[in-house]
Symmetry: C2
Subunit: 224 residues, 2 copies
């Protein structure tokens, strides 16, 4: 039987790592893709490289695209502080059109190698205010992708899978633990110290810690 290929977007955090393990468990040969968009946290990319290797990805590529050039987000613009409190608005950590840029690059790789499945870790439970995690957005992207390409047809369309979309962080951690993931490899912090240790205070650290706590699983994060 011909190998089923999938592109898996891999940031090095809990969600994308779980997605990679899930895609593997469904029998896909996984082509892991990390996009370096000038995020504060270069440790994420080292972490992604290690995870791709540990979880048996077929290959791992890091593609640079300097959308941090124009700022507009606390994740890429060092003049905006990462917030330590919650907000009901779209967070300042939102990076303009980031998911669209990453999914487009994934689509390009998918079409070039004949992969029809793209997996990524979008989630609307913990990140309800990011516009580019909404189900409406995801289906609009898929529709556009199948019109954009030589390979996408009604008979054999590209599919964009966001298997964690409706899961809480605790459920994701439980699922990944069942799949054998060692989450100490992963990094979630928006603002780690130079050694890559988590700050404990940013939104991402707080969501992560709450996830381990609610899952009843020991938090293996390396904190400052």
């Amino acid at each position: 039987m011909k190998e089923k290929k999938a592109i898996v977007l891999l940031s090095g955090g809990i969600d994308s790592t779980t997605v990679l393990a899930l895609a593997k468990s469904h029998g896909f040969a996984c082509y892991a893709l990390s996009v370096s968009y000038g995020q504060r946290c270069q440790h994420e990319l080292d972490s992604a490289k290690n995870i791709a290797s540990q979880l048996g990805a077929k290959t791992h590529r890091i593609i640079d695209v300097a959308i941090n050039n124009w700022g507009g987000s606390a994740l890429t613009d060092h003049s905006i502080d990462v917030p330590h409190t919650d907000s009901d608005d779209i967070p300042v950590t939102y990076v303009p059109a980031r998911n669209t840029v990453m999914l487009s690059i994934a689509l390009s790789w998918a079409e070039a190698i004949g992969a029809y499945d793209v997996f990524y870790g979008a989630n609307i439970v913990d990140y309800s205010n990011y516009p580019d995690c909404r189900p409406d957005y995801l289906s609009a992207f898929e529709k556009m992708a199948n019109l954009a390409t030589r390979e996408g047809t009604e008979q054999r369309p590209f599919r964009f899978h966001a298997p964690l979309l409706q899961m809480t962080k605790a459920e994701i951690i439980q699922e990944g633990t069942t799949l054998g993931i060692d989450y100490s490899m992963t990094i979630s912090c928006y603002d780690p110290d130079p050694q890559g240790r988590a700050c404990r205070h940013c939104e991402s650290c707080r969501i992560r810690a709450k996830g381990f706590s609610e899952a009843g699983i020991k938090d293996v994060t390396c904190y400052v």
Copy 2:
């Protein structure tokens, strides 16, 4: 009155140069964007830089994104020859999902600076076999973009303009000449010599030469 900003995708060829002049003539402050995706022709980028300056773009940025890493096109993969004959299929010069990647990066910049208009030179007359120039694709991209972003709303949506979509090359050259463009600044050749001189034989050279001829305007192209 507040300045209307537009992102203009600028490759350095006839079409995108004409689009930049058109957007300027409609009163937009133009932010020119060139995407370096490992195309064979680095001369295109030098040409784009010069054109942005000559036509009075507010600024010009070149963003690298190495989608040539995975080949799949004669424009980025040096093991595939640029063809010198026509074909009814999608040409081998098609780059997987290239327009989607470029428009996504344009969307990111647009959202970051509060531009709601993105101009680019898609055309279906001379490039009828490129899937990512089809009107259906363009409207699907626009719909996706307005779901993807913080800024896109029904009251103030992002608009993607492809003003040359239904024009022949001759009509484009006539329009640009009326706008005062000196087309000797532009480069179309897929396979120029090291000095940037056009090969005269590739599909792009032939479409260009035919355009000048049909427009009744002197072909100012620098050929090998």
